[in-house]
């Protein structure tokens, strides 16, 4: 513009300024500078003008010139109010509320889906949180380990969660890393306690070390914490237990009478042990009492400090912080071998206390699998619910694109629209979340019954509300952002021309989400089938004995009058057999490695389950002898043994009959081999077992009824109980119930899983229903035209359903391999399991397809049946 270069100001300060100064000020700033330069040039000459030009430029280096304008300010006089202006907020809520009301159908679908999804998600996550919290409430939880033994060689290796008694004291004395040790052993000796005229049979009492109350977070709230057990006659109990005996009286110093004229003085009270503790109990007696009872009359020289063969103590070690676990177990093994050199196959293991509940004894995953599975199911259900919302709101975005465009044209900024849609979602969520929390509260009692938990939604429980809050917030974030971004991004001109819906990417994103939804549903259905089948399988699998209609009870003093009781019971109608044994056949708890046989190698151990049985025990339970013969009841039988097949295999005996066998101190011969039978949960492999004949040890009587008159038989059993055990409560159990109890947690898992997967597919279908309804709505005119041109109803239905069915089919293809892999993992937890078959997955897919078809076709048929005249006139 100006020919003379001297007349223009220096170039590059200009460049600097036009880069630095905010765009809306650039014009006036540069104009001012140039004009000033020009004036100076005329007045003072070029040199002076150039000199001062720099100062002038520098004067603009201040924030008020550099700061960029916000979008709101750009519009100048017509700028919209601030994003969070109260007026705007009110407007957001108003429009959100209106849009909810205007679209009642979709709002209802969304709210229902979200409510159910949130409620179920919260319930499952609460369960998961409870499971994960097990044993973590101890302040020293991370330093406490359970001591375990791995025993046996080769295939007969086993993990024993109980140890010998002396190892605890040796560890505390000789291993510096061990700060303290606690032994815990179930109390079988003193079960009946009497205070004044109140007698209670205690099922959950233990012998333990005094350190029990300081190592674990079970501190004494009454009594002397430094000395919980002043002597062998002490007992510490929980608050509830104390209340049972003494009511409101102070329990300290009160005396309880127990079996055989023994007395215990209450010396301490602890708080009730929390539900999420693996260690439970009501009464605790000093372990020294047990040692006294066991060893004072012993003649074989064994004492509590040298008996390295009685594996019956739960031992917990409190380690110094930062102690290395690896070296420690070796030290313990050395100590053990020093005291009992022939246990060469024995090693020690340490399992962290917090892992006790969720992992198996060998550290492998136990119920953590279930917890993980449920956690994943919860997340999947929430994701499905979110997908519903996202799909419906993005699909319907085309209808709203005009609204968005109008808002933009009258001056709404994108952030405002974004906030508007966010608030719309949030409003819907507040309603759904409120309903969900209400639903959770209402369902908690039923859910507790189903899951066997004791979840309470108390306001004080922070972790529960944290779970609820995080679930809701996470779901909200997941489902609000994408639709809000999408909706606020429409360009007004294109949207008003109606070019929005044709954008391919959104539609395919929605398709992906539908596929995900149905893939998840198919996986859950397949999982339900497989879990159900496995449970049915283990319950119906041949046990190797017949337990039906059999009940049993511990005989106590009746034991010496067994023959008379038996004769009397057999005389009753409805009784088809009576026998006795030392243990419960459904669940044999005792285990020993104190045995020998012909051909046993040094250092070899076989852990086996010993049961003393009567001569009629094997026929009574319909067990089959594979070889040899049964006990005859002769005196010589006390030196005879019957092994199960697994024991024979583990001992590598070729012709077992007549081979020499030793159990504890009795050396005798093997006279028979019994076919394997399941005496534990199907999760475990059948272990070696041995039957021996020792009438004085058979404390449990079994009565087989014909199935009729069971009540009468129980009544007569109770009569003879009263005759010999007056004062003791009569407690019996049917073996069927004991057996069912073994699978209680699996049954619960199965039931919950069925429930959850049905809910998942329900929510998925709800979303599909909404989408189908929307598609039909959008294509009303198209369908009308087709019908006018002669399309049949079935072809219209096909047209509408085809798209969805394709998606569901893709979902099935994706879901099957994932489900296959996952369920295979789950089945690994069972020693006896079903094989996965194609039909399970096929059926799951078919079911999902069927449900989807049903959902979609309802809408399609409705659309197809519409009168074309009406539908064409409608637009």
């Amino acid at each position: 513009m100006e020919p003379n270069p001297g007349k223009t100001p220096p170039r590059w300060p200009d460049k600097l300024l036009s880069w630095l100064v905010a765009p809306h000020l650039r014009e006036e700033v540069l104009g001012d500078l140039h004009e000033r330069y020009h004036r100076r040039l005329l007045r003072q000459g070029e040199a002076r003008a150039r000199q001062t030009y720099w100062r002038e430029v520098l004067a603009y280096m201040r924030p008020s010139f550099i700061r960029r304008q916000t979008t709101g300010q750009q519009a100048g006089l017509f700028s919209s109010p601030h994003l969070l202006n109260p007026d705007m907020l009110r407007n957001y809520f108003k429009t959100a509320w209106r849009s909810l009301l205007n679209n009642k159908f979709y709002s209802l679908i969304n709210i229902t889906g979200l409510t159910v999804g949130l409620a179920v998600g919260i319930l499952i996550l609460l369960w998961v949180q409870d499971e994960l919290s097990f044993d973590r409430f101890h302040r020293q939880a991370t330093s406490i380990y359970r001591l375990e033994n791995r025993v046996g060689t080769g295939t007969s290796q086993q993990i024993w969660t109980t140890t010998v008694a002396p190892i605890a004291s040796f560890a505390k004395r000789e291993v510096p890393d061990v700060k303290d040790a606690v032994r815990l052993v179930y109390n079988n000796s003193y079960t009946l306690f009497t205070y004044r005229n109140k007698s209670i049979q205690e099922q959950r009492s233990h012998f333990t070390d005094p350190a029990f109350f300081s190592v674990f977070d079970f501190p004494l709230i009454q009594g002397d914490p430094a000395n919980p057990f002043p002597d062998d006659q002490s007992v510490v109990m929980t608050q509830t237990t104390a209340k049972r005996y003494f009511g409101a009286e102070n329990p300290i110093g009160k005396v309880l009478r127990s079996t055989n004229k023994t007395y215990f003085t209450v010396t301490g009270v602890i708080r009730d042990i929390p539900k999420n503790s693996s260690i439970t109990g009501d009464l605790f007696l000093p372990v020294s009492r047990l040692f006294n009872d066991m060893y004072t009359t012993r003649k074989d020289g064994k004492t509590k400090d040298n008996d390295f063969s009685q594996f019956m103590y739960d031992t917990y070690l409190l380690l110094q912080p930062g102690a290395a676990v690896a070296g420690l177990t070796d030290k313990l093994r050395t100590i053990h071998l020093r005291n009992k050199p022939d246990d060469t196959d024995l090693t020690y293991l340490l399992l962290p206390l917090p892992d006790m509940h969720l992992y198996r004894a060998d550290g492998g995953s136990g119920s953590i699998e279930t917890v993980r599975m449920f956690g994943i199911v919860a997340l999947l259900i929430l994701v499905i619910a979110c997908i519903n919302y996202v799909n419906l709101s993005t699909a319907r975005s085309m209808l709203r694109s005009k609204e968005v465009s109008m808002r933009k044209i009258v001056g709404a900024a994108r952030t405002q629209l974004f906030l508007q849609f966010l608030i719309e979602t949030a409003l819907l969520f507040v309603i759904a979340a409120g309903l969900a929390v209400g639903l959770v509260l209402a369902l908690t009692p039923a859910y507790n019954q189903l899951s066997g938990k004791d979840l309470r939604l108390s306001l004080g429980n922070v972790s529960i509300w944290l779970v609820i809050g995080l679930t809701i917030a996470g779901t909200l974030a997941l489902s609000s952002l994408y639709p809000a971004i999408l909706l606020s991004s429409f360009e007004p001109l294109k949207a008003l021309k109606g070019k929005v819906s044709s954008r391919l990417s959104e539609a395919s994103f929605r398709k992906v989400l539908v596929v995900v939804q149905f893939a998840v549903s198919v996986m859950l259905i397949a999982g339900t089938f497989i879990i159900g089948h496995q449970l049915k399988y283990i319950r119906s699998k041949e046990l190797g004995y017949d337990k039906s209609h059999v009940f049993g009870f511990f005989m106590r003093d009746m034991r010496t009058h067994y023959e008379a009781v038996k004769a009397e019971l057999l005389g009753q109608p409805g009784v088809s057999g009576v026998t006795r044994a030392s243990d419960n056949i459904v669940q044999i708890n005792y285990q020993t490695g104190d045995n020998a046989w012909d051909g046993k190698q040094t250092g070899e151990t076989m852990m086996m389950r010993p049961v003393a049985i009567d001569k009629d025990f094997i026929p009574f339970f319909n067990m089959k002898l594979q070889a040899g013969s049964n006990f005859t009841g002769a005196v010589a039988d006390s030196l005879h043994f019957i092994l199960n097949e697994t024991a024979v295999k583990a001992a590598r005996l070729q012709n077992p009959i007549g081979k020499r066998f030793r159990l504890w101190t009795h050396t005798g011969t093997i006279i028979g081999v019994v076919k394997d039978f399941h005496f534990a949960s199907m999760k475990q492999k059948i272990e070696p077992a041995v039957f021996y004949y020792a009438p004085d040890q058979m404390g449990t009587i079994y009565v087989k009824t014909t199935g009729k008159n069971a009540d009468q038989v129980i009544a007569s059993a109770q009569r003879s109980w009263k005759q010999y055990n007056s004062g003791y409560p009569f407690e019996f159990s049917f073996l069927d119930d004991v057996f069912d109890n073994l699978y209680k947690s699996e049954q619960q898992t199965g039931l919950l899983f069925t429930l959850f997967s049905s809910i998942a597919i329900l929510i998925s279908c709800l979303g599909l229903f909404g989408l189908a309804a929307y598609t039909a709505q959008v294509r009303t005119r198209e369908i009308g035209v087709r019908k006018v041109l002669g399309a049949s109803i079935s072809s219209v239905i096909q047209l509408l359903a085809k798209d969805f069915i394709k998606l569901v089919l893709i979902a099935i293809v994706i879901a099957i391999p994932v489900a296959w892999w996952t369920m295979n993992q789950w089945l690994q937890a069972f020693a006896y399991r079903i094989d996965l078959a194609w039909w399970m997955f096929g059926l799951a897919g078919l079911l999902a397809l069927g449900v989807a078809l049903l959902t979609v076709s309802f809408q399609s048929i409705k659309a197809a049946l519409m009168d074309p005249v009406k539908s064409l006139r409608s637009e």
Partner: protein
């Protein structure tokens, strides 16, 4: 309307706008102030003060015509708003009231 809203430089700039009205823009204001005070006054400083005054509502502005020496760029013209006028006269009356209370001897001792 706190008095502290108005800085000294702002006050002078506001006055200059009133003086130069309706053709007040940063370059001429800066030149007037330079003449009156004898000190170098940059347009940047004036412009910043004008921005502040406009924000406070004492000034209003609109874009004016472009001139060749500005490289064809428009200038921003400022006018005093009623509010700004009221503030100016308030400031003036405070000052003159104070001036009137100075005893003549005191003024004599300065000169």
């Amino acid at each position: 309307m706190r008095r502290s809203d108005l800085g000294e430089f702002e006050e002078v700039v506001l006055l200059a706008v009133a003086v130069l009205s309706p053709k007040a823009y940063s370059v001429v204001i800066a030149e007037v102030l330079e003449q009156e005070t004898g000190q170098l006054v940059s347009t940047g400083a004036v412009h910043a003060a004008l921005q502040r005054l406009e924000q406070k509502g004492y000034l209003s502005s609109h874009l004016g015509e472009a001139t060749p020496e500005r490289g064809g760029r428009r200038k921003r013209l400022f006018t005093v708003t009623p509010l700004g006028g009221r503030i100016l006269s308030e400031v003036q009356s405070v000052r003159s009231r104070l001036w009137e209370r100075i005893v003549p001897q005191t003024i004599l001792t300065w000169s």
